[in-house]
């Protein structure tokens, strides 16, 4: 009999029977793969959403446990129990993170003068940390909070404010709502808005240093978690980008990759099921047949 010795204090599975540890490991595998499949399905559902950034899941192993073998050494007829380490065992896997991939999507020309898109030149990877940064439009939601978005399918509401397709107000460099009135407006590639020949303002483009701290809320909005630095992208000399009017940025979901990942996830799910079935049959033998008389 092996006696399992817990090394870390963080036990993530409770009530584990000492014999078939792998039963719960396979179940955790299925749950993690199910989360991954949900994320991939959501990516596929959003291949037509402008400004959508594909999610990526990262799987992580639960903390490992050390395995000790209890054996006896006979010496002058005594049996001294002795513990011998025989290695470590992982207790399962879970989907740890779902992070958006901030890669530039393709541009699609529409004929609407209210469609804007950001074209970033370069990947904006921070050299020291290796983590990505990103630029986004700044919007104000119904509660007055600041949110960010890449979905540039804007329109004009009845009092002339520039709004997103779900009703949030687009903000300028000073954090104020942009009012373009009833007229057509032009936006140049540095974000300056011109209405009837007069310059009206400048679209606020936020530069988010830690793009991984952006949380998706739905309706194309991102919320910044934590106290990360947010500056205007125009002020940053290392950030090269353009604002294009009459174009929208398509979803950056890579269809082929996503479908292949879905197939892999499905097969891994099936494999985990087979493991569970094998444990089930073993337990059936243990429960029903060991020690049966007759």
């Amino acid at each position: 009999m092996k006696n399992l010795y817990n090394k870390t204090t963080k036990i993530l599975i409770l009530g584990v029977p000492p014999v078939f540890k792998g039963f719960y490991t396979a179940a955790s595998g299925m749950l993690a793969l199910q989360r991954r499949q949900e994320m991939l399905t959501n990516n596929i559902a959003n291949i037509n959403t402008p400004g959508y950034k594909a999610d990526q899941a990262s799987m992580r192993s639960f903390p490992s446990m050390l395995l000790n073998e209890m054996s006896g050494t006979g010496f002058f007829g005594n049996n001294t129990p002795e513990k011998k380490q025989i290695g470590s065992i992982s207790t399962g896997v879970y989907a740890q993170d779902v992070t958006p991939l901030f890669v530039q999507g393709d541009l699609q020309q529409t004929d609407l003068y209210t469609d804007l898109s950001l074209v970033q030149q370069g990947g904006f990877i921070n050299e020291e940390t290796g983590r990505p940064s990103s630029i986004l439009f700044t919007v104000e939601n119904q509660n007055g909070e600041t949110r960010y978005t890449r979905n540039g399918s804007f329109s004009v509401d009845d009092i002339g404010n520039l709004v997103t397709s779900t009703g949030e107000f687009v903000l300028d460099v000073n954090g104020e709502r942009i009012n373009v009135g009833a007229n057509q407006f032009k936006v140049d590639d540095q974000g300056y808005i011109t209405v009837n020949g007069a310059q009206q303002g400048r679209i606020g483009i936020a530069f988010i240093e830690e793009a991984n701290m952006l949380v998706k809320e739905g309706s194309g909005l991102y919320r910044l978690e934590g106290a990360g630095a947010v500056g205007q992208a125009y002020d940053n000399p290392n950030v090269n980008f353009q604002v294009r009017q009459g174009f929208i940025e398509r979803s950056n979901v890579n269809i082929e990759e996503t479908m292949v990942n879905m197939m892999n996830t499905f097969r891994a799910f099936e494999a985990n099921q087979k493991v569970l079935q094998a444990y089930d049959r073993s337990m059936e033998k243990a429960v029903n047949e060991i020690g049966r008389i007759g």
């Binding site: 993530l12 994320m39 959403t49 402008p50």
Partner: protein, 259 residues
Amino acid sequence: MGQLQKRLDTIANNLANSDTAGYKKRQAKFSDLLYQQIQNQPNAEPTKTTPAGIRVGSGARITATTQVLTQGPIKATDRSLDLALLAENLLFEIQGNNGETPTQYTRSGAFYLSPLPNDSGLSLVTADGRSVMGYNGPIVLPPDTKSIEIDDQGVVQAVLADGTRAGVDSLKIVTALKPQFLLSTGDNTLQVDPEMNADLIVGAYAPQGPVVQQGALEQSNVDVGQEMVQLLETQRAFQLNAKSISYANDMMGIVNSIR
């Protein structure tokens, strides 16, 4: 998939109207749905560089089908009652249904002459019989009109049987200030949303250059090639989503068949 179906309907409507004079195409705009926050780690680690928990999305939806109001190509028809508007956002004003308010507007200039009872004149009407409005009420031509001339500012003159010209009225042309708030009411007509203030949506037209061309019709601004490409895209997206459903179904089947 339901949203893709709506997009397909929009594209199909655009294609069906690719020959309709004065039709303005519609585009569907997508947005993603709310995300569900799942707490997957009971204790947050201090070295984590991403927000706690994971978010699972719930798909996409169509938020708007906006009309694209670019100028369509002008086709000469040599029919004196065909009028084409040459600038974007301009509309002809026509009488509402059965003479009731609200007034309606149209971009399609295919007009006809309809004799009034008692031979009192000929009124300029649309294909459904609704009068085209001038600045002084519905446009009515004298009963002995031989032909009609409309200049590039919309001033209507009737040429009578004896060769004299009689000024009739000016076509009432309005500017759509906020064209995205106009509702399509069928038969090529547009109407202001009754809940909105009409003055904010439609305003008087300020003359600037030639506006009306007689003897021509503005064609639909649907680009058939572009719509076909979008149709193929939508079909592919539909197939991919159906495949996702199939995978989810198979995975549930696997769970069911564990024992």
